[in-house]
Symmetry: C2
Subunit: 651 residues, 2 copies
């Protein structure tokens, strides 16, 4: 089955040279990764300490002290190593590589003789390890360490960390599993599942795939493991067992899960692992579950920005069409995880819809997690923000108006770094006979299609303009299919030229497929209409009834106080106003802002002491300036809004 | 000063015979008071236990056991006694009076020799009494007990409870006060202030007024008492001292308080006490503060229903124009307290505005606290409700869709009972030369005006119709001013007839003032336009931008799922639809429902799997049925909404 499924063209075969994303990756490489190294070493003045390096130094016996930070603190370091690995793969950097090697040395020095490596239990008592899989994140940290180890091995060929995590996984495999006497458990916070499949793809050791599959298959079986574990720990088994376990997607077997529920990051990490296992094993019931959960999440529980997880209570999904804009959680990590899941769905079946969501998240809900300079980060990505509400309303306190230097729980910044540094791995998928172009990011892709090596040089003007081009270089004569995704945002309005002539293509699952014998230098030009579009939400989304949002190509736009003054909740966008491309003061030139006419409910004609009246407030014309959502909060702090009121004329 | 200020015509001089309110009072007398007696005795199956009577029995040595319920549990019993007293004043009832007398006997038996009477400390250790004025509600319970004692004394002439509370107040007065060696403190939860003034008006004992004034004057002085107390209790004095103390309106002296802040019930109880003290002492700086706080609260922080306290976090005010409909708290007790404050503002100065708010709260945000049968109660009074949100959204969990039988914290039901049972005391205020008709409730009012006793027989068709009439019976020849409030809801459209002829009147602070020599049987007819009005909120209220509400006379209307089906968030009300008076199925005949045309965003034309699109959702016509807000949730549970979308045409 795996052979007929698409697989992602791996990072090592993709070079990115893109006016938009290369700049982002440069920021990650030159700013985020070094900055986060400082953070992990507790050297950022005024930022919450990370304790990460310190914990490992203490565990390695190089320093004295107690474990600092959360039970999952190790994972921040693992994510950083992973991000550094991707960066090194494309940009050799002796200094960085030395830092990573030393860090890996430190991790190995901290590792116990039996392979155990989680600093929390090493420093707080090894006797308690594996006694609280529900909450204590050991398997989560191991999962991240595994991702880091494989990434660093693939980037540098160095296998020291790889061997270390394999020893730890052997330990886990000896303690957890179906066999009598083993713990019949699984991770409280998923990720080890997908990490094991990734490891398996390097080691080809069936044990690694088997353990991943065990975690997937065992999850949610009765008697519920976390309940049994709680009993052992003497915790009450109160009436909330379903809610408590659905938080971990562990209230029922994964194949019976109908809705995306619980902690959003956990959920998309689990679904990614499910998709990986389904792909490796050809398990149709599992891929069916992935498809069902994907649809539930992206068709009923996803913000326009691609953000998921509507509530800060448990960082969780709530229910269908419940997408509050001002109290949105939409954690950056959940966006990152949704990109993981999307790519894996593309590896189960080539459908442009998956890539559309991947693109939506990348350009909006994920990218908004970092400042333009790469040194400040959002954990929460609201679609409406008001400084006064965040200051004075308990329900809005989690909504920050400015990006933070670092977090006590700093899962998001390094997660974003590892995603962006490995972006090349998300551009294309391929089957033996087809190369799928899923993202329009400029660069070079090398793959084998139709049995011959092919190099595609790709150019993109996204998100500024909608034209892209590809020059195909087959290593010899050969027939294969080149499938270009037609993004939903162009509304089917595109032109496709082959060597300057109208191309003859088939439409297939949202792709335009060119099936021919390719000659070296064949050139494809795809022009997609990229006009400003008014977007409306399903009327079941109560929050957005009577509202409209503005998008252009893959970008969601928003209004900021910096450009439009306060009182954004009073703005109305007319149905027929012209949008003009312009620049926003204080934002880089290459960011396309949009100006439009608008109206705003006037305060002038309404006495501030008059709370209710039987005359309607009047509207006054105003001009509006829209900026890409990802770029918000890079200037002076203030209000922000994605959805604004529209004029509703009586039918 | 007191002489020139208006004063409320006391309950004993007012008989209510009103088609609307007599029915409510009958429900209170025949249902609520007996029902609550059962509740206080823990005899309501399936309801949270009250423990009230039980606590007193244990404190009196009649039973064994530990204190049950909250630290303020005694106050529920005090409120019930107060409600029973008002009821007995108008409706002698040997059985009820016997129950009250026995209860008072029980309370006196529980009282300590030194006068102390709070069961929480009697049962948990008297050594700790008065060590936590901030949180432990002893003075709050004493305040309620004082209100009950005065009410029962006024109703029956029996002074046993009165003497008991006076002994307890003497104890408090000996321990708390300005003198060296005394505690320089004040109540964490206010009410004793207004209770002491009420007591003073019976005892004329300066000590009682002085103590009330001390509590008012001392409050918020540096060093902040609650901080000193916390230090003594070894609690950290962290950085939140202002927030922590503004919760109790104790962060600064009351005369320097600019905004209604903190716990809403505490706030309006304090302001009521401030107004009482201001009235008794003629303290202008204090009445100024009352006016300022009144304006801040009612002009910037009050729901259309008269509800106050927008957030469930601390049951508190938030900030100007922050009035979320779906997460509203608007506690019933806060509405009750706002009525207290409004009457006291009317006793500081005759302004129709105060009575307008009093009427708004009574007919809407207060009355909604009880079911039509008087046996179920709301603690929280939202302006928008959705069962799914209440079930699944943590931020909405406090919003109940059905009224409850009772509460672990049952402050609201007996509070509502004591207000409604004493409604007569809120109808009129008078000065030596003027009788002010503040509420249009039918019945008989006896007062002295222009030096002669006057009896006014009043008839009202509110809230069904806008016509009222009064027949004046002076005890002899005499000139005085009869001031009839012209409610804001009639928009100045009214006719006033005196003995069938157009009356000659002066407009004064929102009243129509008839100044003449009255003859026995003079008849006044006031007809106020009572048409359905569309109401709009100040555009600074972000939640209500683009929305409209429906009112008729003093009543706010709402849509319920029972009449309109689900999806109320998708409803739009056209600007020019005709409203017809009708009846709502399942509600009593005498409740005027309103039918109108409307539109609703259609789900038919929108695929439930399509979350966002660049075509606007379509509207379909529908008919709407509106019911009075106070009557919602008396049928099958479902959605409710006060504010709906309106059509905004581009100017």
């Amino acid at each position: 089955m795996a052979d007929t499924n698409p697989q992602a063209v791996p990072l090592k075969n993709v070079e990115i040279h893109d006016p938009f994303w290369s700049k982002v990756q440069e920021t990650v490489r030159t700013q985020m990764i070094p900055y986060q190294w400082e953070a992990l070493n507790d050297r950022i003045p005024g930022a919450d300490p990370s304790y990460c390096i310190r914990n490992f130094k203490i565990a390695a016996g190089l320093e004295k002290g107690r474990h600092g930070g959360a039970v999952f603190q190790d994972s921040d370091l693992a994510k950083w190593i992973e991000a550094a690995a991707y960066s090194l793969e494309k940009h050799p950097d002796a200094k960085l590589e030395k830092e990573v090697d030393e860090t890996i040395g430190l991790i190995c020095k901290a590792q116990r003789p039996d392979g155990y490596m989680d600093t929390y239990y090493i420093l707080n008592g090894l006797d308690q390890r594996f006694t609280d899989l529900e909450e204590n994140h050991e398997l989560y940290c191991l999962g991240h360490m595994t991702e880091a180890a494989v990434a660093y091995y693939e980037a540098t060929g160095k296998d020291r960390l790889l061997k270390a995590v394999i020893r730890c996984i052997d330990l886990v495999d000896s303690l957890i599993g179906p066999e009598k006497g083993k713990i019949h458990g699984y991770p409280g916070h998923e990720i080890l599942e997908m990490a094991l499949v990734r490891l398996y793809r390097v080691t080809h050791n069936e044990k690694h795939l088997r353990l991943a599959r065990y975690f997937i298959d065992e999850r949610g079986k009765e008697p519920l493991f976390f309940e049994e574990e709680r009993k052992k720990r003497g915790l009450p088994g109160d009436g909330n067992r379903i809610i408590r376990n659905s938080y971990h997607q562990a209230d029922r077997p994964v194949r019976e899960q109908e809705k995306a529920e619980g902690h959003a990051v956990r959920a998309v990490y689990l679904y990614s692992g499910m998709a990986d296992v389904a792909r490796e094993t050809g398990d149709r019931s599992l891929s069916e579950a992935c498809r069902r959960l994907w649809n539930d999440m992206t068709h009923r529980q996803m913000y326009l920005t691609g953000g998921i997880g509507a509530t800060h209570h448990g960082e969780a999904f709530t229910y269908d069409y419940d997408l509050p804009n001002d109290t949105a959680y939409a954690e950056t990590c959940a966006s990152v995880g949704l990109v993981f899941f999307a790519r894996r769905m593309l590896e189960l079946e080539p459908r442009a819809e998956y890539a559309d969501v991947m693109e939506r998240v990348l350009y909006n809900g994920a990218l908004s997690g970092m400042s333009l300079d790469g040194k400040r980060f959002f954990y929460v990505n609201p679609l409406e923000a008001d400084p006064e509400a965040s200051r004075k309303e308990e329900d809005h306190r989690h909504v920050k108006i400015t990006r933070q230097k670092w977090f006590g729980c700093a899962c998001c910044p390094p997660n974003l770094a590892r995603l962006l540094a490995s972006l090349g791995g998300y551009v294309c998928t391929s089957t033996p006979d087809t190369l799928y172009q899923n993202l329009y990011i400029g660069g070079t892709v090398s793959a084998v299609a139709g049995g011959i090596p092919v190099r595609v040089e790709f150019r993109s003007s996204l998100p500024l303009k909608g034209s892209v081009s590809a020059v195909v270089h087959p290593a010899g004569r050969g027939r294969f299919r080149y499938a270009l995704r037609i993004p939903a945002w162009c509304g089917g309005k595109f032109s496709l030229l082959l060597n300057g002539e109208k191309a003859d293509f088939q439409s297939e699952n949202g792709y335009a497929v060119l099936d021919r014998e390719w000659k070296d230098g064949d050139e494809i030009r795809l022009s997609m209409e990229m006009k400003v579009r008014r977007v409306f939400a399903n009327p079941r989304v109560g929050e957005d009834v009577g509202r409209v949002a503005v998008t252009r190509g893959p970008l969601v736009y928003c209004l900021e106080e910096a450009d439009n003054g306060p009182g954004l909740c009073r703005v109305c966008l007319p149905d027929r106003t012209v949008f003009r491309e312009t620049a926003a003061e204080g934002l880089p030139e290459n960011i396309v802002a949009l100006s439009s006419d608008g109206f705003r409910f006037s305060l002038k004609n309404w006495d501030s002491d008059l709370l209710y009246a039987d005359h309607a407030p009047t509207l006054e014309p105003c001009s509006l300036l829209w900026v890409p959502y990802y770029a918000w909060a890079n200037r002076r702090p203030g209000e922000m809004s994605v959805w604004v009121h529209r004029f509703l004329s009586e039918p």
